[in-house]
C-alpha cells in the first residue's frame, strides 16, 4: 500500500470513496467512483470534487489545494482496495482534460514501484495499449491485478 493518504470513507459496495482535501483553499470533498462500463468487468475510475451545498460532483474543477501528491496517493489507494474487493476487475482511467490526464500520469509515476507490485499498468498511446512507462504521454490508463 501507499503512504500519506487522507482518511477515506468507503461505501459498502466498495465503489464509492470520499475524502476531504485540506489546504489553503479550505476543505474540499473529493469523490472517487468506480462504475462498470458496457464491457462486463471493466470499470471506469471517476474522480472529482463534490459541491457540499448541491452535492453535485464535478471532474473538471481545479482545487489547487496544495496537496496534489496526497490526493493522488489517496486515489491510488482506492484502486488497491477496489481491486482487492473485485480481483477480476480491470480499471480504466481517463482525464477530463489534458492537464488532469497528466496528473494521473504523475500520480502513477510517483508511486509506480509500489503499484507495480500488485498491478499491471498500461497506457493508451497512438491507439494501442502498451505497458506504462514514465515520461510518456498517454490518453488513458488501465490497471489489473497481477
Amino acid at each position: 500500500m501507499l503512504d500519506n493518504q487522507y482518511e477515506t470513507k468507503i461505501s459498502a459496495n466498495y465503489q464509492n470513496f470520499e475524502f476531504i482535501s485540506e489546504g489553503p483553499n479550505g476543505l474540499i470533498t473529493k469523490v472517487v467512483h468506480y462504475s462498470e462500463t458496457n464491457l462486463k468487468g471493466y470499470y471506469n475510475l471517476g474522480f472529482g470534487d463534490k459541491d457540499t451545498l448541491t452535492g453535485f460532483v464535478s471532474d473538471i474543477s481545479v482545487s489547487n489545494n496544495g496537496d496534489m501528491n496526497k490526493v493522488l496517493s489517496t486515489v491510488a489507494t482506492t484502486l488497491f482496495i477496489f481491486i482487492r474487493k473485485y480481483p477480476e476487475a480491470t480499471v480504466i482511467a481517463t482525464g477530463s482534460t489534458d492537464v488532469r490526464t497528466r496528473l494521473y500520469r504523475i500520480g502513477i509515476s510517483n508511486n509506480l514501484e509500489k503499484i507495480e507490485k500488485e498491478f499491471v499498468i498500461m497506457g493508451l498511446k497512438d491507439g494501442k495499449w502498451e505497458i506504462f512507462q514514465k515520461n510518456i504521454d498517454y490518453g488513458a490508463f488501465l490497471a489489473y491485478k497481477k
Partner: protein, 52 residues
C-alpha cells in the same frame, strides 16, 4: 465476474466503510462522460492482450 472473492479485506489505516456514502449519488450518474469515453475506447481500441 467474480465478486467478493475475499469477503473481508484488510483496509489501510484511515479507510473505513461508511453506510452514509452508499446513497449519496443515487440521483446523479457520476462521471457519465468519462464512462462514455471509456466505452468508446473499449469499442474502438479494444482491450489489451492480457496474461490474466
Amino acid at each position: 465476474m467474480k465478486k467478493n472473492k475475499t469477503s473481508e479485506i484488510t483496509l489501510p489505516k484511515g479507510f473505513v466503510i461508511s453506510n452514509e456514502i452508499e446513497s449519496n449519488y443515487d440521483n446523479q450518474p457520476l462521471f457519465k462522460e468519462k464512462v462514455d469515453k471509456v466505452n468508446y475506447i473499449l469499442k474502438t481500441v479494444g482491450i489489451p492482450k492480457f496474461n490474466k
